[in-house]
Subunit: 548 residues, 2 copies
């Protein structure tokens, strides 16, 4: 039996495009005489469709795609993810399902039992969990169908669910398991994924064909990395990251592989993976919204330099326009460094001083500001004048403005709402400052793109004379450590202090994080590369009084 | 047996303040010789605590409050909501629980079984559902404890859950039921709530003491309206809306009420309820964040006029500062009408023309804009210059800026990101334009506060000569009808057209709504007054291609 795995990049709600991709893969699989072609979770509508699922019109359109797939399934079995309507009155209205279609008929529909409802996931918002489990028979083989999370509940110290679908399915003696996934990237996810597949083959002793989604949907990035592993726990192949691919496997060769059948796994360097994820995140945000060109403010600092280099790699350097907006507080090296970066990349740039706008606001507000002194207000006027100029260029010429705030700044609120926090997409809002340095060095791995001076100089917002980040923030190494353990690890103040972090620092940082929830609420979507990004995966009350 | 109901306004994570309120109510109940005092769902930490629940430190602090409550429970039973740790390894780590504490001991802990996970609710994100149900015995009475949603699954055509906790509890022959709720306001919720309580007493024939939360937590508003109904379905009392209250009931008098025991229900006028909800929403947002003063841009149009009148009622007119920012496109009547409103209210106001800022940006961007013509870019520069001025005043003097966008505008993207969409709180982002008119007339019910001319003139953004909203938008009556059925009722295009709405209008409006998701993503929290508000209760993909 020949099995095809189709690792594809769908577009939420774009039924024509998604069917086009599925159709092309079915044609290719037929040409290769495959018996079965397997697609990923909710392939017909893209994942996560979120509240579109509450529209019966949306569900009907998903069903219309299933009908079209049935019509082209002559001579091949197609396994594809789609939402289905729960026929029982009690419970949620939908299931998250896997269709098994062959020769124009639906032979089986399996429903997902374990519905992730944590971090970015809201599946129990929409779906009823499966309560029945049945293998499907096809061409003399018994096949267990599972969907993503269904196989993630084993081998954990603290399992999230009370059941394991495969514990039921294995009683029906399946010959192999197909898993349809939409399992998002984080820089440590690929390792976990391999462990989970291995835990399944160890326990159930059947081959697993794990088919993941690839590409980005707003903030959520899928890395692909689909997996074929046999019942002895031998990794046959891990498919490429961040690319579409259709690969074919002979079941006998999977069960008893010759050395040449074993393709092995992909390299897993954290910074390389983050880089590639961010490139896909930018590219798909623009591509799926129908935009080609980006604009950003280039300050001469490391964050905007990194975002520009990433955007140039994602969109083409000629499609990224840098705007340098010096003020009276800008140092010469800032402009020079920024110009050098734009020239290194070969991207267009403009120098647009903000002094006229800044003066006009100071003049306009003179009667109201009489008797007050320069403070954060005037700093914010500069940042917001820059934001306004960038948005004006964006509106006039059809750019998407890229936000350049990093995760450390966003965490402690070191940024101006409607100023440097403007933008349609936050590229590095899930990248701590120390990781921004590592990514910049990675970008320079084959020669200088980001000028060395940008990487080595002390960070400064340059909003008042001789300002340095270190005037108002702790050292980034120390800050990022507190932030990581608080945000990613959810440690409280007591645990952080017990880890050896300074008590005054811990209290100050946690207070800043919680006080600034209102700023993050209004931030652009953040490309998610860690296990806990700001945005839909981290939901905090603004009026909360905890640790603030 | 004497039962006290404590309808209180908690502050999420503010354990000292919450315990202070609970303590005061226990003292009061003891003074009244009550046998039991009942508080609302998750009273110790406030509802909804959201991802604070993922911090074990947060859970420990909740438990510390329970310990303090135990210490003051001599001679009285206290029933209070708090999260508890699930001792079973499998499943979610927490339960949403009701403690029954008396004389320093925990006599029983009941867990919530039905976990709302839709709209603004994320309970299955955190909590494991109860699987065991037991009445608690106290002073010879058998008491069924339920939590909010637990009693909402009966009498529905399409029940969300497969079980009914009271179906189990009633087998143990309870004498009455206590329900601890945190059930948010929407303008049609109070009617539904009474129906649900009635459906419960009809089915189970036992008295229900339903204790709701009151007050606002960021966008979510609780109206109180706690209910006492006897086993014959007689409404004994519906507690006041939007106020804290402790009321006392003798169980015998509830079971066999004299005419004087029957206090009946509150009036339920939609616009009056919306008005009162918005007042509480503003007041608690400011109060819980520790702010007293608001600022807003007053354009002379109805939306900002309505927001200003609401803010004046919520915070005191002297604490609301209006900024009039005319441009060359502003009409005389706009400034005159706005001044008149500020004078009617007795609020401070400034007139700050934006021409200097507008000219400075046009001058600054001249090289880049060479050869282009006036379009939405220049309109946005005006809106953003206003936003910048308002934020500068907010930063300098410690105001919270109120956003004045209505739901119709927000839906179709008729507003400028970082311009008129600025603000810490969206006051009327869940109020359709036609409802904004009704609210304005309500505010004028005892005499003119909002000048009549503001209510009767044709709406205009005044961002280009002689502009009217009707130049770019359909008539608001028609627009709001499409929006309501699409947003609140989740009808698709086919259903909307079948309702008799114009086909071209339907397609245009749905496309505008979906195309502008990116703007709403960056909007301030919206006070929720309908059953489907923008924000945490409506989760849409930005890159979605559905109907756009």
């Amino acid at each position: 039996m020949k099995i095809a795995i189709a690792q594809q990049n769908y577009h939420i709600g774009h039924f024509e495009a998604n069917f086009g991709k599925i159709n092309a893969a079915i044609e290719a699989a037929k040409a290769q005489q495959a018996d079965i072609v397997v697609f990923s979770e909710l392939a017909v509508c893209g994942y996560p469709p979120r509240d579109f699922l509450e529209f019966s019109d949306f569900i009907n359109r998903c069903q219309a795609v299933i009908e079209k797939i049935k019509a082209i399934s002559q001579g091949i079995a197609v396994v594809v993810g789609a939402p289905t309507v729960n026929p029982v009155i009690e419970g949620k209205d939908l299931f998250n399902s896997a269709y098994f279609i062959a020769d124009g008929e639906v032979l089986h529909i399996a429903h997902k039992a374990l519905l992730p409802t944590y971090d970015i996931f809201d599946e129990y918002r929409y779906f009823e969990p499966a309560s029945e489990f049945k293998v499907v028979e096809y061409k003399g083989k018994r096949i267990a169908l599972t969907i993503c999370e269904d196989i993630w509940n084993i081998g954990n110290e603290n399992p999230l669910y009370k059941i394991c679908p495969m514990d039921e399915l294995v009683k029906q003696q399946p010959d192999f398991m197909l898993n349809l996934s939409a399992s998002p990237f984080s820089y440590d996810h690929a390792v976990n994924r391999l462990h989970v597949i291995k835990a399944n083959t160890d326990r159930y002793k059947v081959p697993v064909f794990y088919v993941n989604n690839v590409g980005a949907q707003t903030e959520v990035i899928f890395d692909g990395g689909s997996i074929v592993m046999n019942g002895d726990g031998q990794l046959i192949e891990e498919l490429p990251y961040f690319e579409e691919a259709i690969h074919y496997y002979d079941l006998d060769a999977v069960n008893n592989p010759a050395p040449a059948d074993i393709k092995g796994e992909q390299a897993k360097d954290k910074i390389d993976l983050m880089y590639r994820a961010l490139i896909v995140g930018i590219r798909d945000y623009f591509g799926k919204l129908g935009f080609t060109k980006a604009i950003l403010g280039l300050s001469g600092g490391i964050d905007s330099a990194l975002v520009m280099a990433l955007a140039a790699d994602a969109l083409g350097a000629e499609n990224v326009r840098a705007i340098l907006m010096p003020s009276e507080f800008s140092s010469d090296h800032s402009v020079n460094d920024a110009v050098k970066l734009a020239k290194n990349l070969g991207s267009p740039y403009d120098i647009i001083p903000i002094n006229k706008a800044y003066d006009a606001f100071n003049e306009t507000l003179k009667p109201q500001f009489e008797g007050t002194t320069f403070n954060v207000t005037e700093e914010n006027i500069q940042a917001r004048s820059r934001g306004l100029i960038l948005m004006a260029l964006s509106n006039k010429f059809g750019y998407i403005l890229l936000n350049t705030s990093n995760k450390s700044e966003m965490a402690v609120g070191y940024g101006t709402l409607y100023g440097d926090m403007c933008g349609g997409l936050s590229v590095i809002g899930d990248v701590y400052k120390v990781e921004a340095y590592a990514l910049s060095r990675y970008i320079n791995r084959n020669g200088e793109i980001i000028p060395e001076n940008i990487i080595t100089k002390a960070p400064s917002a340059e909003l008042r004379p001789n300002q340095k980040d270190s005037d108002s923030l702790p050292d980034y190494d120390e800050l990022d450590k507190v932030l990581y353990h608080y945000i990613e690890e959810r440690k409280g103040p007591k645990e952080l202090i017990e880890m050896g972090l300074r008590e005054t620092l811990v209290h100050r940082v946690l207070r800043l994080v919680n006080m600034n929830e209102y700023k993050r609420y209004q931030t652009a979507p953040v490309l998610r590369v860690s296990s806990k990004a700001f945005g839909m995966g981290r939901r905090m009350p603004i009026v909360g009084k905890y640790l603030s």
